[in-house]
Structures are given as structure tokens and as C-alpha cells.
Symmetry: C2
Subunit: 197 residues, 2 copies
Amino acid sequence: MTTTTRRGRRPGRPDTRAAILAAARERFASVGFGGTTIRAVAVDAGVDAALVHHYFGSKDDLFVAALALPVDPRAVIGAALAGPVEEAAEKLVRTFLSVWDDPGFQPALLATLRRILEPGGDKLIREGFLPVVLLPVGEQLGIDRPELRMPLVASQVIGLILARYVVRIEPIASLDPDRLVAIYAPTIQRYLTGELP
Amino acid sequence: MTTTTRRGRRPGRPDTRAAILAAARERFASVGFGGTTIRAVAVDAGVDAALVHHYFGSKDDLFVAALALPVDPRAVIGAALAGPVEEAAEKLVRTFLSVWDDPGFQPALLATLRRILEPGGDKLIREGFLPVVLLPVGEQLGIDRPELRMPLVASQVIGLILARYVVRIEPIASLDPDRLVAIYAPTIQRYLTGELP
């Protein structure tokens, strides 16, 4: 039992982890995903680069961790999108709503969203979320022109999220998820696989 | 010439106007559009209610003024929507882009958007922008269920605005307006007049 307690605590380590995350957030926000290196984050946090890899894995993983999301969007979206691409939009909207509607996740998701919308946060999306999370989903789906289609998808999903959870416009804020899926899936599906100019 | 200078300056008045606007913004943000009265704003600003009416007209007008928008959205949207409802989406997207793309308007529009996205700003939209600006547009268009359709329109327009001007996701940030109109108008038109569940 004493051993378990010690293992659970790992004295000093939570601070190191937090210091690395804080340094990573600052770097990603100030110089973007592309300009951030694991080495620079390690220097800022006063630790060895190997320790950053040990805690967080790749730079992609560190970026997702720095977003402080309650779930790894790559895993959630990836699982939701297994299956025929013609059903992808419905699954995508349903998954987004189920994660965002979850009261255990929503506060952290809102906090992340607000940080992204603050000045400087745009780089997190442009140079991180888009290439690390969104474009790989498009490639996984095998759609053409994912670099055009996935941002279009994002532009409707973010609008839905703002309307339902941030601004809480009625009736979007309280509509049944099934109803929202039926309303928004055709839009998303057109952006994913429809004819586009 | 001296007279002209005096007229232009109107000593004291710009401060009064600013004080009323500041009081109005605070009221609208803290107690919402519905909870705000011209009388309360006047008391907060230390002026007579008649002076608020004199400067700003109705509560609707005061609200639009408090948004500090470079253009009155009611006038712009109203003019854009004259004509058959089947062409409304195309005109709406084109008008939004032309106003937002204008470097003379964009900074003020972005500032307003950021204020709306801050905590408390949701009330400005929910209790002000929606009933004062958006729903009247739906009624002007003569569409059915404007109280459902206009929020759906807003959810895509706000997503497009965030993607193009705030987060500046490529290719949305630099796509030709004509291309964006062709991409987004079918979505907006479906929300305005299409079959909805």
C-alpha cells in the first residue's frame, strides 16, 4: 500500500509535467506549431529534451496535451469516422455533440475554445490543430482536396459549437442532438464529399 | 469659420455621448437586452433619459450603437435582402464578405466580435442581436420558422467569419469572395428556405 501511494505521488514530477506544459503552451501560442521545437520547450521548462519525449511523446502529442482537451480529438474523431465516407458527416456531428454535451468535458472544452479565440490563439489552430488533427482526418477519410474540405467542415462545426455552447442561441442551445445531426449533417457531408466550386 | 469650428466641437457633448454608450454597454452585458432600460442607462450615465433618446433614438438603436459596429447591420442586411428569397443567401454571404473584407471596417468588427465572445458577451447576441437584428431580417424575408432558420444561418456565418478573419485558416482566409459565395450560399439558402427536420 505504501508502495502504491509512492507510485501514485511521484514527488516532484507533477510540477515538471506542468512546467513542460506551460512552456509548450507559451511556445505554441507565440511562435506557432511550426516554430516550436521539443528542444526549445525543454530549455524553457529547465528540463532535458528526453524528459519531454518521455512524458508527452511526439511534438504532435505535446501539442494535443497543451490544448488541455479532456479527450484526444484524434482518437475520438478517428473512431467516429471508421466506416463509409458517405456516413462520415452524421457520425462526425453526433460525436462532436456527445463529447461537448457531456458535463464532465464541457468546462474544459470551453476553456480551450476561449483560449484559442484570444489574440495569439489563432496560431494554435492554424499551425497546430489543422495539420495535426483536422487534415489527417481528411486523409483518413480518403476525400479529395482535404486541405480545402476540412477547413470548410471546421467552419460549420465551430459555428455550431459557438451557437450551442458559447453564445447559447435558442433553439440551437437546447435542440435534441438527433435534430441537430439531421440539420447539420447534410452541410458537413457536402463539404466532405459534395460538388464544390 | 469660427461658427463652423464651434459647431464641429460641441464642447462637452462627445463626453456625454461616450458616457451613455459606456453605461449602455455595461447594462447590456450585465443584465442583457431585455433587462436594460433607457432610464437605467441614463441614471448610470448621469443624464436625463430624454437625452439618451435624443442621441440614440430607440433602445434597439442604442443597442446597435453600443455594439460599436462600423455599419448598422440592419441597413446593410436589409438592403442586401431586397429581392426574391431564393437569391437571399447569395446576397447575404456576398454582403457579409464585402463589409468584413473592407480594411476600413474590419478592425472595429473584429473588436466587436471579440467582445461578444468574452464571458458575458453571449447575452448581447442572445437578447439583443438575435431579436433586434437577425429575426427581423427573417421576417422581412417572409420565411417560415425564422426563429429556427435565422440562428442556423448565424451558426454558419459566424463560423465563416471566425475561419476567415479571426483564426485565418487557409484556404478560407484568402479565397476569392466569389468562390466563398459559391461554397457557402447553398448552405445558407438551405437554412433559409430548404427542407429542415
